[in-house]
């Protein structure tokens, strides 16, 4: 397979590995072949025919996304025939598209709109059937408008190939073809984990995130409310992209400034509760390791993953840490500890979180997430929603003077910040576990063996004599493999496992900015590691605010108060498909 072939694309010779597609070969010489159904994250499908090219000697135009290169092949990507064919394809796609672009969530960020512009489609000569499907908002995180579906099948493929959840399918045929969950059920009535990868890969406005921006603005405008906002680690390396920035650029202080300008009363950091999660989770892990309780222990702050576990592997929930996610720990403390310390009536607090994640919306609504006596987190906005809100608030993001998080629950360490990428929670936990177990100072805090993008990574960690074996998985397809291995008896002898629902971790969560950069994951991850390196403190237990909360309020990690506020239980979820 490592053989190279040389072909000619638009008169230019190019040597590429055998087996890659014409589309990928063209990229290497700077030729952009437009696509719609194709996406670099998933296997080619060749359904839309937007990427057609002329291949010398071939009878018909070839789909560049799927057509493999061959030695001596002569490809033309910009002939009259190609241009006309592509334009016609886009025109036909538009024939039954609603074309209400002005009021569409994806306006100016829609691949169909962009194609129409690129192809120079100035009129649509055909009038197709417009079925007028009702909007499906039965899912707590994701909204489907089937009228805008172009049948590219990206959602079908990402949900099956990457996540192995298989919510969507193509149904019916010909003009009646649709993309739908089984039996035409609503997206809230099937076994969906709410990971939102479909909403991040959909080229149009057919799958979007449930919009809670107006509710948050209403709270900000209510003079009786104290609106507290927390920002997740992964948001700070992606939000800037919505304002022209590069993936991975760390814009924390601008974001904090913008949130203050928008009118949030207190701007606090989820990194603080990420550190707190480490205190609780590392304590729980060492306890379970010593006593051999339900090992391996699975750590994760990923609510999409938790849904997956509860839906597909309920028999394994006992392996999961009882710790809440940082978002929910924050929520529970905002209306208890924070209210008490800051002398605010908890009834007046509206707790908002800015998350890279669509499943967090569901997590906040779970009935057990009310340890404060109120709903712990009132509203969850995704990074994309925050971008919209900032734009509608008239904020020139790039001109915002930098600002600092407000004190208490506003300070996080480097360990907290790397929660946003795959391997980060594991590394953060190891930094603290090492010092707890050995009583020695950990000199090199970077655990390179758990870093990287491998789907399932394993490492042997030596805690100064105590050997532990850890695994890190990201993407639910990889998580499924790990679960199957545990069911077969954990022959890998893992002690500690980190799982993130989304490939790459939270930095590529379903609520993050939609990126066209093929390396966006690596860049955002590099951004978080850079943030970690630059922070003065890189171990959770060294965070002075963490030390203060245990001293003044919680007592000790894993103690009575922690259990009441910071821990939860998992249980089988039922969302059985019935006949109606």
């Amino acid at each position: 397979m490592s053989k190279n072939v040389t072909l000619t694309i638009d008169g230019q010779a190019v040597t590429v590995p055998a087996g890659i597609s014409i589309w990928a070969a063209a990229r290497k010489i700077g030729v952009h072949i437009p696509t719609l159904c194709h996406h670099f994250d998933i296997k080619p499908y060749a359904g839309c025919r937007v990427c057609v090219v002329e291949v010398a000697g071939a009878r018909a135009l070839a789909a560049a996304c799927a057509f493999p290169v061959a030695e001596g092949m002569v490809v033309k990507t910009n002939t009259k025939k190609v241009r006309e064919a592509r334009k016609l394809v886009v025109e036909l796609l538009l024939a039954n598209h609603p074309k209400n672009c002005l009021t569409c969530d994806r306006s100016q960020n829609c691949e169909l709109q962009e194609l129409a512009l690129e192809m120079g489609v100035h009129e649509v000569r055909f009038q197709g059937k417009k079925p007028n499907w009702p909007i499906d908002d039965s899912n707590p995180s994701i909204v489907r408008d089937q009228n805008k579906c172009v049948l590219c099948g990206r959602c079908v493929r990402v949900c099956s190939e990457k996540q192995t959840v298989n919510v969507y399918t193509f149904a019916n045929r010909g003009f009646d073809s649709t993309v739908t969950p089984a039996f035409g059920k609503g997206l809230g009535k099937v076994k969906c984990t709410y990971c939102g990868q479909c909403s991040a890969i959909c080229p149009t406005g057919a799958i979007t995130v449930k919009d809670d921006t107006e509710k948050v603005m209403a709270a900000i405008n209510d003079p009786d409310k104290v609106v507290i906002v927390q920002t997740a680690p992964a948001v700070r390396v992606a939000l800037g992209e919505l304002f022209g920035g590069e993936p991975g650029a760390v814009i924390t202080s601008q974001m904090v400034g913008a949130l203050k300008l928008m009118g949030f009363d207190r701007v606090l950091d989820t990194n603080f509760t990420a550190d707190l999660t480490i205190m609780e989770e590392a304590t729980e892990f060492l306890d379970r390791l010593k006593n051999g309780w339900d090992m391996p222990m699975i750590t994760s702050c990923s609510p999409g993953w938790i849904n997956f576990l509860e839906l597909f592997y309920p028999e394994l929930v006992k392996h999961h840490s009882s710790c809440k996610s940082p978002q929910q720990m924050f929520g529970a403390l905002a209306k208890t500890y924070y209210a008490q310390e800051q002398k605010i009536d908890p009834k007046k607090i509206v707790s908002v979180s800015i998350m890279p994640c669509t499943a967090k919306k569901f997590e906040a609504l779970r009935p057990e997430m009310r340890s404060s006596g109120y709903q712990d987190v009132d509203y969850v906005l995704t990074t994309r929603e925050l971008g919209k809100l900032l734009k509608s608030s008239g904020i020139f993001f790039n001109d915002i003077p930098p600002a600092e998080y407000d004190p208490i629950m506003g300070k996080g360490t480097g360990a907290g910040t790397i929660f946003g990428n795959t391997g980060g929670v594991m590394e953060a936990a190891l930094r603290t576990a090492y010092e707890v177990v050995t009583g020695k100072t950990l000199e090199n805090v970077e655990f390179n063996t758990v870093r990287g993008m491998g789907g399932i990574r394993e490492a042997d960690i030596d805690l100064d004599g105590t050997q532990i074996r850890v695994a890190v998985a990201h993407g639910l397809g990889n998580a499924r493999q790990v679960m199957e291995a545990i069911k077969r008896g954990n022959r890998n002898r893992w002690d500690f496992i980190e799982v993130m629902a989304c490939p790459g971790g939270c930095i590529a969560g379903g609520g993050q900015p939609i990126s066209k950069d093929i390396n966006f994951r690596a860049k955002r991850i590099a951004g978080l590691y850079e943030d970690d390196r630059k922070l003065p403190l890189r171990k959770s237990h060294e965070n002075p605010e963490i030390q203060a909360i245990y001293r003044d309020y919680l007592g000790e990690p894993g103690g009575h108060k922690s259990h009441k506020l910071l821990h939860t239980h998992l249980a089988k979820q039922d969302r059985e498909i019935d006949a109606n």
Partner: protein, 163 residues
Amino acid sequence: MNSNPQAKCECLDLSKLEPVFERYKEVVNGALIPVLQGAQDVYGYLPVPVLEAIAERLVVPISQVYGVVTFYAQFHLEPRGKHIVRTCQGTACHVRGASKILDALKGNLGVAPGKATDDLQFTLETVACIGACGLAPVMMVDQSTHGRLTPDAIPEILDKYRQ
């Protein structure tokens, strides 16, 4: 989606699927379509619990099973009548009044094309052409062809099949 009470019939005996599974147990991949065909032979159509049982046994996602069932015209998600009435909508039948024949059938049976009557005596279907243009307008009931139809002739023909 499924409004027919038969679809949720509690008397559905899933053990009747076992011989079908047994027949294809050696097939590693690709048994889905023959198993669906076998199941439809047993139950007359493919009720949801049957599809769920097939998905579970063959370890195929239920969404994919639904996709296959809706793709092929041979599979039916709703119960079928004892007699299948196929009325022709081809060009020759069309010019000789096929639409009036269809109206008469809809009126007599009280169902839309694709649906079964409540008593499950008949399922009404339209077809593009049955290749008997000389007899237009034409319909088939089960394997019998009825040609040169008029709307008035419909009740008498259907009554012959009624029990």
